[in-house]
Amino acid sequence: MKTVGFVLTRLARDRSALFGLVLIAALLVTALLAPILATHPEDVFELHPAERLRGPSAAHWLGTDRMGADVYSRLLFGARITILIGVIAVGASLMVGVPVGLVAGYYHGWLSDALMRVSDVFLAVPQVVLAIAIAQTLGPSLPNVILALSATYWPWFARVVYAETRALQKEVFVESTAALGASPWRLTVLHVLPNIASPIIVRASIGMGFTILTAAALGFLGLGPPPPTPEWGRTIAESREFLPDAWWYATAPGLAIFLTVMGFNLLGDGLRDVLDPRLRRARIARDD
């Protein structure tokens, strides 16, 4: 807990990281309190053709869409889907990528080579293209989007963990732990993993932004959850035919995606600086 407090204090001193943190906090609050904050919560599913494509007003803060639903309210509920996709996809990627990287990094031999070549195959194809292919094959739905993103994002974690594990193996403290008879399990989980936690956390934060962006791209291409789900990418796709007259229709979800992705990236960059234990001494020295 001391560590969490430490990280937060340090983050608060880094302006851009703090901004990122605020954006992410805002996103979380929005998603959590969507039913309370929304002015027309029922509009997620209900249609009001009579009020379609109205501009921003007191009744509809961000205007209405082609079905006459309140853009603002749908945006808030869209945040829930975005977070759901991001958290589950990154979580699943972590669950697969980190063990794969640890095993490949710890062992030297065919197993290590095999695991890393498999992850290379995934990295060779651009993530969006691969995710489109998977989502297209499985059919458009929320679980399939998450599956497609997880299946394409885990090699990034495997790469990071593999490289860090290999680098650590040359350290005397890891070597001596092995020499004292620690089992591979103990060595990797209790000694290597805590040492490489920072790059994993940073990767996860940046990966959230990246995954959300890709999810929006899939939604835009119609491969996301089917309507009437208020997914941001799909909303932008729907709004295209009404541009430039109904400018609010595309602007709202576009800005939402932009701010979310930027928030995660700034937070990730800030975390990278704060979490590196080798930089801590310099920072503490400067602060005193």
Binding site: V172, F173, S176, A179, L180, G181, L190, P194
Partner: protein
């Protein structure tokens, strides 16, 4: 004197891209109880390989042990079961002080966590006889307290100020010298019979070096612990050792008590080595010729191509051990009998 450690005819090869390097060529070494032995030699002569071979931690991928024996307290460590060596010897009866005080601690845990983690398995109070420690096994509360008390006491002995507070700090909050003191403390804590110190002061600056060497010597003499101390620095060897063994290209050349070693060295290589220490008058006398390749080493005595006394018999076979005085032996057909500086 009773020998605690006896290395006999140890041969170790390294498989490299350039061929098989014969890094240790039938090396012999003795360490008596309570004795501080300096293993001296140029970089690349096999000091570290010998130290690691004794500990049984040679890199598994490249190193091949071709023969020889490592006798320690009546057992040949090379033929003993791996689990037994791991449980009773490594980290317990033989401990290690590494060269680099920076990579020796994990940067993310406080020093206490790391010292107690080793003490959990290797404390003199820990029971012997587990094949493999489970990460979930408990550290008995009473023993933890006793071990921590011992840790604090040892930290005081290595002159770490405020040991209780120091234990809560992270490794980077210590200076290099302090970290090496912590390493010495960790090496002493299991109450070993032998400490292998692999150039423990090369990474430190000269004033700190002398302090740490003196401290190490005092502590091991108090406790009757033997030390095998590898170094390329003759001054360091002079400072700390009871006896010095000189290695050249994987063979031992001469072993002598420290005073005899520096006053009356018998092996031509030892004499050359001592003469090559830069003198205050600025003159540097290096040894003519080049360090031999270990892939195609010279036959017989590996120093013969560079030796002014070399004859045909030197290349024919390895010279037998010649005892000049008690515990002073030389492997040379033409040992020099004169004080240092006076060449016959």
């Amino acid at each position: 004197m009773t020998e605690l450690l006896s290395v006999r005819g140890l041969r170790v090869d390294f498989v490299t891209d350039g061929g098989v390097a014969q890094v240790l060529d039938g090396i012999n070494l003795d360490v008596a109880r309570g004795e501080v032995v300096g293993l001296v030699g140029e970089s690349g002569c096999g000091k570290t390989t010998l130290a690691r071979a004794i500990l049984g931690v040679l890199p598994a991928t490249a190193a091949r042990i071709r023969g020889g024996e490592v006798w320690f307290k009546g057992a040949d460590l090379l033929r003993e079961e791996a689990a037994v060596v791991n449980d009773r010897v490594r980290g317990r009866a033989i401990t290690f002080i590494p060269q680099d005080p920076y990579g020796s601690f994990s940067p993310v845990f406080p020093v206490q966590t790391q010292i107690m983690d080793v003490m959990k398995w290797k404390s003199p109070r820990a029971s012997i006889g587990r094949a493999r420690p489970s990460p979930f096994s408990r550290y008995p509360r009473e023993r933890w307290r006793a071990d921590r008390e011992a840790v604090l006491e040892t930290l005081r002995a290595v002159q770490i100020p405020e040991p209780a507070r120091a234990l809560r700090r992270l490794p980077h909050e210590f200076s290099g010298g302090q970290r090496q003191r912590l390493m010495i403390a960790m090496a002493l804590l299991p109450q070993p019979d032998l400490i292998i110190a692999d150039e423990p002061t090369t990474a430190l600056d000269v004033t700190i070096q002398a302090q740490i060497l003196r401290l190490l010597r005092t502590l091991v003499k108090e406790r009757g612990v033997s030390v095998l101390f590898t170094t390329h620095d003759l001054g360091t060897a002079h400072e700390i050792c009871d006896r010095v063994v000189v290695m050249y290209a994987g063979q031992e050349m001469e072993a002598a008590p420290a005073d005899a070693f520096f006053a009356r060295p018998a092996h031509p290589y030892t004499r050359r080595l001592l003469a090559s220490v830069p003198s205050p008058d600025g003159e540097i006398r290096d040894i003519p010729g080049e360090v031999p390749s270990l892939v195609n080493p010279p036959s017989g005595c590996r120093f013969h191509p560079r030796c002014e006394y070399a004859t045909a018999e030197c290349s024919a076979g390895r010279p037998p051990l010649r005892a000049l005085a008690p515990r002073h032996g030389v492997r040379c057909h033409h040992p020099v009998d004169a004080p240092v500086g006076a060449e016959p």
